[in-house]
Symmetry: C2
């Protein structure tokens, strides 16, 4: 049986990680790659990324997706280029037109009905017309502050309140993230960046809240999100960032959702460099109030980069097998580390050997 065929669109840090992990997995092969970076154009993917040479012919990196997708049937295109539905939508459409499933790590795509209901409707229609599926996933949104809480709620008879807290370190990240999060800038510059939108902070709270509410049968009447600087009272230095005393060492993101009875969802997500130097212990925490109550802690937090790469690669064969349409993680089986053959999942072989 042929392998599951994947085309990668976007070879930044996440796209490269996905390429690297897929090349170690069984029953799956990368048959095309697309990136606009001129330094990659025309090069063989494995050479450009320092991967072992593939068994078959080398895969060239092309600047246009049409070339990357042509010549062989493709089961899934992984788009790792954008954070927002608006930005990724034209790319999704271009892939769907060719009858290829789309997996993306664009944060807003984890619940695209929240930010762009019209575009969501269009993607769903297109996907169904071409008999393929579209899905957004990642570590957050996509897992640690939404799907994992949903999964834990499965042991409950009633949930009154959901609290998800993700306290993570930005120290492993590179210069782009340091700039995006405003590491080392003054509180005044932070306030300005927050006002004019140049500092976005975490993208995904609206999506996480909507996914939780939909899964549990709650109705969100009001939603609010806040972004505040984490001002450090001492110098902090990470491999790619430096925050002198009195400057911004990170961003504290919070959000709350209410129904008519009161607050039902509380999301807390402070991200900073060198949290331990300020006595902050990283971790993922979920508290579900109800019957029976559930208090979960994962310490330290699940690594965001490695985790997003893993989620994308682990969800991929389930997406290939899924029904057509615009889907969410709520529609797929429980995620899992797929160390077996991708074909068993993507092309279907059940427990009973059929």
């Amino acid at each position: 049986m042929r392998k599951v065929r994947v085309v990668l669109w976007g070879l930044g840090a996440m796209g490269r990680g996905i390429a690297e992990l897929l090349s170690r997995r069984e029953g799956v092969e990368i048959v095309g790659a697309c990136d606009i970076n001129p330094a990659l154009a025309g090069r063989a993917l494995h050479e450009a990324l320092g991967l072992p040479a593939p068994g078959g012919k080398a895969v060239p990196v092309t600047p246009d997706i049409a070339t990357a997708l042509e010549g062989t049937p493709v089961d899934c295109c992984v788009i790792a280029t954008d954070s927002f539905v608006k930005g990724v939508f034209p790319k999704v459409r271009e892939v769907l037109f060719r009858g290829v499933n789309v997996l993306t790590i664009a944060e807003e795509m984890s619940w695209p009905w929240a930010s762009e209901p019209e575009l969501a409707r269009e993607m769903d229609g297109l996907a169904k017309r071409y008999g393929v599926s579209v899905l957004g996933t990642g570590i957050n949104p996509g897992m640690m502050m939404d799907l994992l809480a949903v999964c834990l709620s499965g042991v409950m008879q009633e949930v009154r309140h959901v609290r998800c807290e993700r306290v993570n370190s930005l120290s492993p990240f590179g210069e782009t993230v340091m700039q995006e999060q405003g590491i080392g800038i003054s509180p005044e510059d932070f306030a300005r960046g927050a006002r004019d939108g140049s500092l976005a902070g975490h993208v995904g709270f609206r999506e996480s809240a909507a996914m939780i509410a939909r899964a549990l049968g709650m109705e969100i009447g009001r939603f609010e999100a806040q972004m505040a600087p984490i001002i450090t009272d001492r110098d902090r230095k990470s491999p790619h960032g430096f925050a002198p005393k009195g400057s911004v060492a990170g961003v504290s993101m919070t959000a709350q959702a209410w129904d008519e009875s009161g607050e039902i969802i509380d999301l807390v997500h402070p991200q900073q460099i060198e949290p331990e130097s300020a006595g902050v212990h990283t971790g993922d925490y979920i508290t579900l109030e109800g019957t029976p109550p559930v208090h979960m802690a994962v310490q330290p937090e699940v690594d965001g980069g490695a985790g997003t790469v893993a989620m994308a690669c682990n969800v991929l064969p389930f997406l290939v097998a899924a029904r057509p349409g615009l889907l969410s993680m709520l529609d797929l089986p429980v995620p899992r580390c797929v160390m077996g053959d991708y074909r068993d999942i993507a092309f279907g072989r059940d427990e009973n050997g059929e």
Copy 2:
């Protein structure tokens, strides 16, 4: 649209809990109930269980399942009568013959291919012939020592070792459990009971290990399980149990699975009355070694009784919607506390309103 129709087979502690929770849920109704207890025969279910009177006509408890299932189309029969595949198999068959989906909390049914591959094949064939599905679920096996570990592994690129530990209290349980677990008996009586099989301890390790291995693509070459008494060094008293100093206050169950490289799964499950009196803190703990590693703790442990009732009721609408055949929790979407209308899930309405 009509409600999801359920028949209950077995009205012990778990069956009663399921009846009680389903009667509070939306879009689902109990249309039949079967139990061999003469004290229940012929009585109205809501009266016998102290539930509010149903909107429609009262449901009688009947001693035979044929009567309980007849007269109206039924979407799901919940069987809460047995722990082992062999015991529940004739009941499952009787329901499948009538074209009704089966949900059971029989522990071995969480992964019936482990203990009874032949019976599993037969159930799968029957289910497919009649176009319905069969599934076993529960809190353990079914969630805390298997499915939750699987779900957490979704954030990982590679898993080298899985350790699940469930440290729970038996204090909330009644006299039956006290006897089954040997609470208060001497170490000698415990040894005798373990030898002759009259003390079974926890049922489900083989199933949990097989589910984890299958999900992650591991191959179990060797499996071993152990059962040891927890001898108390002080008197312990719970509402329904008493263990004097030197007697059995609980059972420590352990199991390990190996592939050719070494141990891959380690299951640890000590259950006892009044663990806090001996300085033991209850909780569910999952440690996944690999990339990235995951260390999870749920403290205190998820209540076993309330949790099993919740799992059964929460999985029910997904089972009604599932493809025909003998299924496991690996085949269904992520579990969740279903506080919305059961019909949205069981009879299908997707995020896109279709």
